[in-house]
Amino acid sequence: MQTQDAIIPGSAPEPKLNYLTNGSTLRSWLLTKDHKRIAIMYLITVSLFFMMGGMYAAAIRLELLTPASDLLQSGTYNKVFTQHGILMIFFFLIPSIPAILGNFLIPLMIGAKDLALPRVNLLSLYIYWIGGALTLWALMQGGVDTGWTFYAPYSTTFSNTYVMAVGLGIFINGFSSILTGLNFIVTIHTMRAPGMTWFRLPLFVWAHYATSLVMILGTPVVAITILLLALERVAHIGIFDPTVGGDPILFQHLFWFYSHPAVYIMILPGMGVISELISSFSRKKIFGYEFIAFSSIAIAVFGFLVWGHHMFVSGQSIYAGLVFSFLTMVVAVPSAIKVFNWTATLYKGSISYDTPMLYALGFLGLFLIGGLTGLFLGSVGLTVHLTDTYFIVAHFHYVMVGGQVIAYLGGIHYWWPKITGRMYSEFWGKISAMLVFVGFNLTFFPQFILGYQGMPRRYASYPEEFQVLNIFSTAGASVLGVGLIMPVIYLTHSLIFGKKAGDNPWILPGLEWRTSSPPPTENFEVMPVVTWEAYDFSDENGLDIDEIKRQQAELATA
């Protein structure tokens, strides 16, 4: 706790227990109210879902190696991409950064002992588990083949797979997301340490505030939509079924009312991480703090106005198509502001290239491409050609994998020493970051070309002229796979064999770096009082640099 000494004289002695060692029974984990332990449990489950989703991805890519549907029959293939999408989106990407890093770090960053509603936090973990278990059970029973979008009337009347069970799993899981968002909003409002004003909050916290808004306002709508879908399936009630007067387009409206904003649930937290990384590794106050903060809110709000851009060819009116296209363009501007501000932050910085920074720079390039191709899709005349082709598959993998997953990996590396108290191997970290970058581009860039060529998505077999590019894509996926497996190995390895990291390995001013690594259950021995701005690298930030360097030297010799 030496760092604290600088602020509050006469602080407590070295903590004996940290959150990991404070109780080792299974019960002490399962009934914990500690946000850090809950985050760890999320980390483990979310990773499992990621691996499962990744295996489905491998199956997709292998099947698409050849034009015929030879490895997987089309029935199986349909299930594979559906389950890939469902697991990756609902059970991996949506909880990834918020439920793991957000959960772990928000109280630390704002100087609180815990989230405002710890029991609700634990409840949300359990809900996630129940929803996940139900979904896994349904997948084992035979799975589902509707596509992750569950379009009616295929999902309501025609598919004879486990639509209900999987739907129920997602329905339940939705409440986990709602509760997490609710908790974050309350926490950010009421739990900030003295002196931690709104404009001293790290941008990571702002991003999560915006994410939480979307979670609370959007997720209930998809919940009710799935409920209606289920009722339609059991009772053939005619709300989505056109044979008795229902309206399948209504399903799409309700679904995308959530699912477009949900793509911002899947990128805003990543943007928050990137803001931290870029500032930390250029050792500079972030450029245009207020603009980045407010652009997060703007994205969350405007994100609710554009859902119809997924329905340009669905039969919605020409007028609606134009309005949605227009607003889609508007919502791209706040993202542009962020990208420019991040770039400007590098200017005259003192940039170092630790693994997290490599990920951050990778994010910049990949999100750029992903976002710009979003503009292609938002331009309605062009989307008419592009929609439901591989162009879209490429677009959303660029933003989701190139954006959020890369940010997630960067964040995990960056806070790994804080979470575990150990340092991972920089060497392997850099190699894997580069493999991921190269493999990713090789996998998904060819898909843009394929898409413009006209190769439709969700195809188990395709005309032969598309094969060459598909081979590139599959080859890329194997590189990507290797790049992603490596962190699993060296991060686990570092848990036991890694160097001790020290409290503040990167010498940073953020509050989370001012407690010990791993932090004690109560987060701070002494409640902090914040007197410095966010990303304050000046001498007024209350850090005792010499003391930190001394500690680091000590660790190096030990």
């Binding site: 549907s69 030879d70 029959q73 089309s74 349909n78 083949d145 596509g147 009337p153 025609f158 639509v163 209900m164 056109p242 044979t243 229902g246 399948p248 387009i249 050792r283 106050k285 450029f287 245009g288 703090y289 603009f291 060819v313 669905s314 039969g315 296209s325 363009m329 542009a336 502001i337 990208v339 420019f340 770039t343 400007a344 590098l346 200017y347 005259k348 910085g349 003192s350 940039i351 750029l368 491409i369 710009l372 503009l375 938002g378 331009s379 005349g381 062009l382 008419v384 050609h385 929609t387 439901d388 413009y452 060529q453 006209g454 439709p456 969700r458 195809y459 002229e465 060459v468 690298f537």
Partner: protein, 355 residues
């Protein structure tokens, strides 16, 4: 007209929309390249120029700049408006049908496209159209949502059960172009496609008058089986096979679901095509769609002849004239958005679909 380059980068340009969409596409690529190159270059430049000389040194502080923020909010906004406008103009044309033009009716169905010309010709998974003529499609579906997509024409539209949707295009090139179903529609979604044949006006007239002479019934049947009717998509053999094996079928004994055994004579084959659900072969799902109303009597005869030819040993008897051809698809000029009385999903056991 198939693209033959090793790595085909762009699809054929074969409609009046194609160059417009491509132009917009190139405009967007230019913008993307501009921003990507700009930002990546800046990142590289900063990354090298300002790399940390010494670990953890602290550079000078820069807070931000209102001018810059304004500039880089307004410029992207203006650019994005140009993108919107470009897209809007093209979209407006794509989805506003011209007053005159050749009307063609399209019905989607798991997993085939049924097409009917104004003059009465019917096709499956194929569309023959004349070049340089405005073609207007009036479309619907019998079951789930599908999407009629011709990449070379740069246009597509969903077909929605319970209502009609419309699209139009004017082909500019003679040739053979992919027709895809672009909206996921279940098991054989990727097999639900075919070809659009753009013909010169003369050839099209020829085609309309049904001049495909010179084929024996077996040849004609083979053509129907493999290309025109898409039987081969289920009956072709190989791992994709969902339909029964037809080689050696004729004159053999077939075991049906329910234990019955019947002899596969002409009448049986004919019935299998017209009423597949009435006699389902053991070990198979009743997924074969009925072709009643889609094949003419001559075509039926040709099919039977072809299927018989797959069993060389069996003694042949000439296909007899059975009932006259059934009437066409019921999809005539009904009022727009009138419910096309979609077929009830074929025999879905309730227990199954309630999972």
């Amino acid at each position: 007209m198939q693209n033959t380059s090793w790595v085909p980068l762009f699809p054929d340009q074969a409609s009046t929309f194609a160059w417009q969409v491509d132009a917009l596409y190139f405009y967007l690529i230019a913008i993307s390249v501009f921003f990507t190159v700009g930002i990546v270059a800046a990142v590289f430049f900063f990354a090298i120029k300002y790399r940390a000389k010494e670990k953890y040194e602290t550079p000078d502080e820069i807070h931000g700049s209102m001018v810059l923020e304004t500039v880089w909010s307004i410029i992207p906004f203006i650019i994005s408006m140009t993108i919107f406008l470009g897209g809007a103009i093209i979209y407006f044309q794509q989805y506003t049908s011209p007053p005159e033009g050749m009307e063609i009716y399209v019905v989607g169905k798991q997993w085939m496209w049924k097409i009917q010309h104004e003059t009465g010709q019917r096709e499956i998974n194929e569309l023959h159209i004349p070049v340089g003529t405005k073609i207007k499609l009036t479309m619907t579906t019998e079951d789930v949502i599908h999407d009629f997509f011709v990449p070379a024409f740069r246009t597509k539209a969903d077909v929605v059960p319970g209502r009609y949707t419309y699209m139009w295009f004017e082909a500019t090139e003679v040739g053979k172009f992919h027709l895809f179903c672009a909206e996921y529609c279940g098991l054989n979604h990727s097999g639900m496609g075919g070809w659009v044949y753009v013909m010169s006006k003369d050839d099209f007239e020829q085609w309309l008058s049904g001049n495909t002479a010179g084929q024996t019934p077996v040849e004609a049947g083979k053509d129907l089986f493999q290309n025109k009717l898409g039987c081969a998509s289920c009956h072709a053999g190989g791992p994709q096979q969902r339909g029964a094996k037809l080689e050696g079928l004729f004159n053999s004994d077939v075991k049906l679901v329910g234990g019955q055994t019947v002899k596969a004579d002409e009448q049986y084959i004919r019935n299998s095509i017209l009423n597949p659900a009435s006699q389902v072969v053991e070990g198979f799902q009743p997924i074969m769609p009925t072709f009643k109303g889609q094949v003419t009597e001559e075509q039926l005869n040709a099919l039977v002849a072809y299927i018989k030819s797959l069993s060389p040993g069996a003694a042949g008897s000439s296909p007899g004239g059975a009932a006259p051809g059934a009437p066409a698809m019921t999809n005539t000029n009904a009022a727009a958005a009138n419910k096309p009385a979609p077929a009830k999903p074929a025999a879905k056991p309730a227990a199954n679909s309630n999972k």
